[in-house]
Amino acid sequence: MMPIVLWTDALVFLLLAATAGAGLYIRRHEYLLASWRRVGESRAGMAALVVLLAFVAVGLLDSLHYRPRLADANGRPANGYGTEVRSVLDALLQPLRAATEKTYSAPLATHLYARETVELPDGTQARVFPRLKHGGAHLGDAEAEWGGDVAWRILRGLFFAVLAGLTFLLGAVHLAARHWAVGRSQAWRRMRRGETRFAWNAALLTAGLLLLLAGPAISLAGGYHVFGTDKVGQDVLYLTLKSIRTGLVIGTVTTLAMLPFAVALGIAAGYLGGWVDDVIQYLYTTLNSIPGVLLIAAAVLMVQVAIDTHPDWFATAAQRADARLLALCLILGVTSWTGLCRLLRAETLKLRELEYVQAAQAFGASAARIMGRHILPNVMHIVLIAVVMDFSGLVLAEAVLSYIGIGVDPSTISFGTMINTARLELAREPVVWWSLVAAFTFMFVLVLAANLFSDAVRDAFDPRLTGRRIAHSAQGQTA
């Protein structure tokens, strides 16, 4: 196989590297570490982080792309590579990916959701719900065996989940005990009762819940379509998992794209003032004055025209879709940097008047040096808060934009495209609900986790709010 690095893959891994670098930097700076410890104390924040990490893991697996070697008619490897680009996640989910049915089937169903005319062995024709090709195909008598088989698979999944959970827990307790230099039972008691600074109990509980959901799901997915299939018979669970990467890319790469501009321009406008400030303010007022959706629409239409008129730019469909995804991120970045820029400008105006900045000026330090050494580190918390708060908004925006038709490429699997294709299913008789419910549920969980995590980050990094948090807990005690 031939590894392929799509543009967004590169950016995702760049982001990963940047996060790792930031982690190392934080380790060496006590004041940052202290703030992150406060994030770690938030139970809701840590529960959300565990959920986010699960999503990120799926997203990362889906960001390792390759083109499989072509196979000849007998399935033996041949020379050359297919034009289809797959990811490691695709490889892991190969059974799901390949198990397409004819059309709709309900979650865990054994029969198709639509009647079909079949020819009976006696030659007559009848309208029946035919058996699925893959869902429950291992069952002989579907009606009789279905209940037992599903129950057995759930139990088996739960068993393995509990097993994995306990192993993980033991490991965690062991490490924690070594770290605190106490006995294991002591360490376990501390974690359980929430006597640790890091919210271990919330994190472990969430991880356990995730395992208890994932275990049965994996176990069932071996024989059924857990979330059913969509109109063209694709497994909805597979589509949902594939959607995660799109959401994450939109939520993070967009920010990555706009961040350097917003930070540099915001600080420069605030610190340098004068005509620089005038120009930057003019720039963002102009961009801001165009309603976001319309600017995105105009830009996406133009990108679409460009891509359509130059089909020769891209070797594969995946690369074309990826170019459009990247373009969408950049466009969203262009429309969303103004808010952060304005925020940073205002903060820099305040910082500029502070005495430590004037002290640096009294040393004759250059403007660049002051902006880099004094202003930037002191506005980073605003940048961080903006980044984590923007994430959930961007994930939600992707769905809306894709629905309007100015989001990702229709061939890219995303929450938005899923919802768009399934939007009329509720109007069908009988109702097909599973695609929508699966997409909305996963999106809700992702966005909720992101919101809770960003709240924890904001509480920890925004000093204005800490007093209130303490006040809250104190009131709780007296009440």
Partner: protein
Amino acid sequence: MLAYVIRRLFYAIPILIGVNLLTFTLFFVVNTPDDMARMQLGVKRVTPEAIEKWKAERGYDKPLLYNENAAGAARLTDTIFFEKSAKLFVFDFGRADDGRDIGHEIKTRMGPSLAIAVPTFLLGLFVTVSFALLLAFFRATNLDFWGVVLCVAMMSISSLFYIIGGQYLVSKVWHLVPISGYAGGLDAARFLLLPVLISVVAGIGSSTRWYRTIFLEEIGKDYVRTARAKGLSEAAVLFRHVLRNAMIPILTGVVVVIPLLFMGSLLVESFFGIPGLGSYTIDAINAQDFAVVRAMVFIGSVLYIVGLLLTDLSYTLVDPRVRLQ
């Protein structure tokens, strides 16, 4: 005061020129009219003649900025820039790709857009401010805690879900109101009820939380302590002192969107089949009708600038410090 307004209006001109240049660049420079024609016509029917015909029908066959073949002022006016971009300044939007007059369409579609946006705006503001006041009044209690949890949950739900779910439940399962459509006059209420309701509910989460933060910030200020030291009840403190001060950031955040109400809400109008500007825009995007999108971009930025102006004026209404200085 008047000088201030005039200055802000002067300031709007370079911004509108900037918007205009930006859209011009996006629509005519990044991709040439030939590209657009090719895409509109579809790959199969692309012949040089077809492209020329398409362009000529829509007035895209002129030079971009400077017409060498024309004489006098027409060298500048008989160009795409003048015809398609500069004319926007006098609100001459030209014709859509389907040949209809955009200005006329906008006039007729403004009514339905406002009919849905204005009630949404007013009702939403009332509901969220009341809800936020309630949470602020019971701050640091269980009611406040669960209220905030509810807000976070509600703002984590996609607006598409509110619309699709609301339509399914209210119209399809309960048969309370029509699923979609629009009629003029009093009859409109039947069609507007659900979209307004859904829009309000979809906005509750984030707005309430934002307003609550503003209220709490005000409650922490010194003058509130003074008011309590006078012996005033908590309700008097909240309504007479906190609410008035909190209205300053709330109003200024809210006023800027008032002019944009004309633009309608894209999603709701399109889902409920309301013939407003929002659905007009979406249809244009789907049909890749660049003339309409261009016109809407321009109108949008004009309205935004009006909004900024109104924001500044509203400051003077609610804040005596601005009014009297």
